[in-house]
Amino acid sequence: MFGTVYTGFGYWDVTSWILFFGIAAGLTLWLRAQGRDDYKEGTDQDEIYWSGNVVPEDGEDISVPASSAYWGFRKALEPYYNRLIGMHTGIATDIVGFYVLVVAFMAVFILIA
């Protein structure tokens, strides 16, 4: 019904994937159903555990901000990012400059190629 896509080196069959997903989802839900359901609502069992500390009222106090995400990745690639972000000056003449540079580069090399 959904069809198979042949890439020339392999294929992609969406029906198989949906079947696999259905089986995996069923298994996951079955495992989940094995959990205990006798906890008492409204008691300590129902509370958020935050390393034994009092949970702040505002979610902002316990969130990792997006600007801190992948901190290690950015730190490891700092020299690369310094150059890359340095390119993005936001100055309009720089943007036109890159365009002129690319066109000039292509013009020179296509003529000598």
Binding site: F2, G3, T4, V5, T7, G8, F9, G10, W12, V14, W17, I18, F21, E57, D58, G59, E60, I62, S63, V64, P65, A66, S67, A69, Y70, F73, R74, Y80, Y81, L84, I85, M87, H88, G90, A92, D94, I95, V96, F98, Y99, V100, L101, V102, V103, M106, A107, F109, I110, L111, A113
Partner: protein, 521 residues
């Protein structure tokens, strides 16, 4: 009168008519304006669908403006076509369909998204003009008219990007785009003028039939490639794009995504239909591949470190354009080698063209979801967002689908087009696939960050009053979600009915030229 014969002209006439009547109609109130916006874009979508169906059934559609007969491209006694000729082959029809879907979704979304603002007569008029410019670029068979439609789209874009003119960032983004876009357009015009000076023709099919690859033609090709690559956001000429996409109202950004694809269409039309087998050596194909690789990797690198949601998605646009340039560049590289084309070149082209459809749908959806977040919370900075999944379940659901699709997660459509690209460009060099795969991993990492910080996590006190967006905005996103799911669940149908005919039309330079130079229909 058989309306089917006039579809190429109607495709432009309907939104153009909408643009002219919008300032008057919008005086009658919000409801009338909303009916006009959705009605005109819906009719345009129906025309696009009919055009695609007709082209698949009957071959390229030719429409001659201002001639004695609308279907005779080359009247007897004339060696070259001189009228304004629209030419829609399967590739044009495919692009028109993508653009019309995005225009309809953006219009639906804007009905609610823009309801708080004044000046909606101007907004609606410019929105339709942008649609006309985009569709015109996709169906014109003439280099000068391509320039005209670029200008129509550009001028409408400048106005729409700076629509919130009380925001200095919007004015700045529009000004930057205006400057770089105008330089690019002028260079395009000079290139078209050079060809006209030598061949006495501006019609692409006519020039394509006469073209000899000399020094002037080489420079003209460079001017075309440079200008159109800049306008579709290829690295390193992409820097206008995140600013413009971030500052435009989200319904407009949805359409700008399709407009950038019109420039990519122009680039491919020049390379395959105008130059085609006269392209000379492999320098330009390799240049397109190199720009594709650089766009993919550097675009996604910049996206990973962004925390302003629309700028982040904007940098992903640069990255996604890279996939299309890579796929189509590999197709161009083996255009003259029938064996390599059959072995992997055509698959790469199918991947690139399928990615155009996928990108237009899921990227437009991502921008609309970002707009929905801004509408509901008044914030675009991910640092200030969190826990929105509880408050905006429908937006979250559609965002997840779009994010999974752009990240290339199976079974979504982005996975299928990327798979076609990975497995075919590998035959040229494994490094091409490695860069594409690394880009996909970083794309996933980037959208995991967006999903986690905006939609998951504890609720922030500042966002407790957040509510789901109105029905019009959900419908706009819904149209694109259906398109993404359709292409995901029926990839074989999409490939055989939408993508393959477009890819075949693009490599068939003789067919494109013959449709006009053979005298028309």
């Amino acid at each position: 009168m058989n309306w089917n014969e006039h579809l190429p002209a109607l495709l432009l006439a309907v939104p153009l008519f909408g643009a002219f009547i919008a300032p008057v109609v919008c005086l009658f109130g919000k409801t009338t304006r909303n009916i006009l916006m959705t009605g005109i874009t819906f009719i345009t979508l129906i025309i696009a669908l009919l055009l695609w169906k007709n082209v698949l059934a009957g071959g390229p559609a030719i429409y001659v403006m201002g001639g004695e007969s609308f279907n005779i491209a080359l009247p007897s006694g004339m060696a070259l076509p001189i009228r304004i000729i629209l030419e829609a082959d399967a590739f044009s029809a495919f692009m028109v369909l993508c653009g019309a879907i995005a225009a309809f979704a953006g219009a639906l979304f804007s009905t609610n998204y823009m309801e708080k603002f004044s000046g909606m007569g101007r907004f609606t008029s410019l929105y339709f003009l942008l649609t006309v410019g985009m569709l015109g670029m996709m169906v014109t068979g003439d280099l000068f008219n391509f320039f005209i439609f670029i200008e129509i789209a550009s001028i409408a874009s400048f106005g729409l990007i700076a629509f919130w003119r009380d925001k200095p960032e919007a004015i700045e983004a529009s000004l930057k785009y205006a400057l770089v876009s105008q330089v690019g357009s002028m260079v395009f015009l000079i290139a078209a003028g050079c060809l006209y000076g030598k061949y006495n023709a501006l019609n692409m099919a006519a020039v394509g039939s006469l073209l000899q690859f000399g020094t002037m033609e080489k420079l003209v090709l460079v001017f075309f490639v440079g200008s159109l690559a800049m306008k579709c956001g290829a690295f390193p000429m992409h820097m206008w794009l995140p600013d413009a996409y971030a500052e435009a109202p989200s319904g407009v950004t949805c359409l700008l995504v399709a407009v950038s694809q019109a420039s990519l269409y122009g680039l491919m039309r020049v390379c395959f239909s105008l130059y085609g087998i006269n392209l000379g050596g492999s320098f330009i194909p390799w240049m397109i591949i190199a720009m594709g690789l650089a766009s993919m990797f550097f675009g996604v690198s910049m996206a990973v470190v962004q925390h302003e949601i629309k700028r982040l998605i904007g940098y992903h646009s640069v990255s996604q354009v890279g996939y299309m340039l890579l796929g189509l560049g590999v197709g161009l590289l083996v255009l003259k080698d029938a064996r390599s084309m059959a072995e992997y070149g055509f698959t790469a082209m199918k991947g690139g063209i399928f990615h155009i459809f996928n990108y237009t749908m899921y990227k437009a959806l991502l921008f609309l979801a970002a707009g929905a977040i801004y509408y509901a919370t008044g914030k675009r900075d991910l640092n200030q967002l969190g826990g929105l999944a509880r408050r905006m379940p429908f937006t979250t659901f559609m965002f997840v689908i779009a994010a999974a699709a752009i990240s290339g997660l199976p079974p979504f459509n982005g996975f299928v087009s990327k798979l076609l690209i990975y497995e075919s460009v590998f035959a040229v060099h494994p490094a091409l696939t490695v860069v594409a795969l690394v880009t996909s991993v970083l794309t996933l990492a980037s959208f995991v960050k967006v999903f986690q910080t905006a939609f998951l996590g504890p609720e922030k006190n500042a966002l407790v009053s957040t509510r789901e967006v109105p029905a019009g905005m959900l419908l706009g996103m819904g149209v694109l979600t259906v398109a993404v799911l359709g292409a995901s669940l029926f990839p074989a149908w999409t490939l055989s009915n939408l993508v393959e005919p477009a890819a075949k039309a693009l490599v068939d330079q003789a067919g494109y030229i013959g449709a006009v130079m053979g005298g028309g229909l």
